[in-house]
């Protein structure tokens, strides 16, 4: 069951490339693979805390009050992560900048908490948070590796590659949009081939 959940979070329902939630950091903090991993892990930690809190108090949250309550949880969790990162990992804080506190309003966190954790047990919510968090980190990592390779000509800071002139646009904002657009198009192409194959059978 845990494996199926992981597969769902990582591939079938990948937060960024299939469900299309939490796109802001995916476009913004993927200039290097390292930053992408750090961002993904920070979001995952916030998501785990929020999912557990939302699941613990699921009897108390009504349909109308869910957004304010979950926002409250997520800003508490993000404040905690922010304070810890600023204290122990100042380099990561500089690297992620404004997007670290903005984990509080990450669409993935709000979506998982309000759609899943509010209706399921704590253990299931924890599993869901880990799966979605890993899927999110993996998606950011893919975008990060592509953008770092094309934009700076390095791989996890190793390089620069010989005989390769970096395409600077991939390290800037338009490059973020461009990379995400191309990956989304590729995913939708792969998905449509698979669905037509199923129909043909």
């Amino acid at each position: 069951m845990a494996l199926a959940e992981l597969k769902r979070g990582l591939l079938l329902r990948n937060p960024v490339f299939v469900a299309a939630v939490g796109l802001c950091p995916a476009v913004a903090v993927t200039t290097t693979a390292r930053a992408a991993i750090d961002m993904g892990l920070a979001i995952s930690v916030v998501l785990v805390i929020v999912n557990i809190l939302a699941s613990l108090t699921r009897k108390l949250i009504s349909e109308r009050s869910r957004l304010p309550v979950i926002l409250c949880y997520s800003s508490l969790a993000a404040s905690l992560v922010l304070a810890l990162v600023q204290r122990f990992l100042p380099g990561v804080d500089r690297e992620l900048g404004l997007f670290l506190p903005l984990a509080a309003v990450n669409c993935l966190v709000l979506e998982r908490a309000s759609l899943f954790a509010r209706r399921n047990t704590v253990a299931m919510s924890l599993l869901d948070a880990v799966a979605a968090g890993l899927g999110y980190t993996a998606a950011l990592l893919v975008a990060g590796i592509i953008r770092e390779a094309l934009g700076s000509g390095t791989f996890f800071g190793i390089g620069p590659f010989p005989y390769f002139h970096p395409v600077r646009i991939f390290a800037t904002a338009p490059g973020g949009f461009l990379t995400v657009a191309l990956i989304l198009a590729m995913v939708s192409m792969i998905r449509s081939t698979f669905t037509t194959e199923k129909k043909a059978q």
Binding site: C24, A28, L67, L71, S75, L98, L102, F177, A181, A185
Partner: protein, 202 residues
């Protein structure tokens, strides 16, 4: 720099040079939602209102309540609650007085509370002004908020207008929908990168 030129610089930087969605990549989601151009007008007007008020309110809350009380730790929590309240007020007003408009953009409207642009702007105006290098004054914060809001509306209108035109053509299948929306955003972002001067793209 004189006061007036500082304000002018702050306004231009907020609206164009560090445009919220297209340059700073805060609040990208509205660019990806499939509004019609008409609904984009309504949405961007509401978003502009929320951004302007929340940005200015964030400065006031920070300077008058949080800083004197030494409660900077709770900044994020207080800001989020402020934004949620503001959006709830807008939503209730819309539902009561403009039910048809509310149905057109309802769910996107409630998600405005969780929009990175709103939260990002609130955290920006309580930080340093990149124009002067010192913390924002109240007037600078208000000007920054108003023009950042205008820049956000501009970005939403540009992308939704472009999408309406582009959707009339035959697109390659994978680029229909979200991927196409991001492609359009990329083109608009290239244009806005030009406002920062050439080094950004060289």
């Amino acid at each position: 720099m004189s006061n007036l030129s500082i304000l002018l610089h702050t306004a231009l930087v907020a609206m164009f040079v560090s445009n919220l969605p297209l340059v700073r990549m805060l609040g990208v989601c509205p660019l990806a939602s499939t509004f019609s151009f008409r609904n984009a007008w309504i949405y961007s007007a509401v978003a502009a209102f929320v951004l302007t008020v929340s940005g200015t309110a964030a400065w006031l809350i920070d300077a008058l309540i949080l800083a004197p009380a030494g409660l900077e730790v709770a900044q994020l929590l207080v800001f989020m609650m402020t934004a949620a309240t503001l959006v709830q007020i807008c939503e209730t007003t819309f539902e009561r007085f403009y039910p048809r408009m509310f149905h057109a953009i309802g769910t996107d409207l409630s998600l405005l509370a969780a929009n990175c642009a709103v939260a990002g702007l609130m955290l920006t105006v309580t930080d340093t002004n990149s124009v002067t290098g010192s913390p924002f004054s109240l007037v600078e914060a208000a000007v920054h908020s108003i023009f950042a809001a205008a820049g956000m509306s501009l970005a939403i209108l540009i992308t939704s207008g472009l999408r309406e035109r582009i959707d009339l053509n035959r697109l390659p299948k994978p680029f229909a929908g979200l991927a196409g929306a991001f492609m359009i955003a990329a083109i608009a972002a290239i244009v806005f990168a030009g406002f920062a001067g050439s080094p950004a793209l060289h």
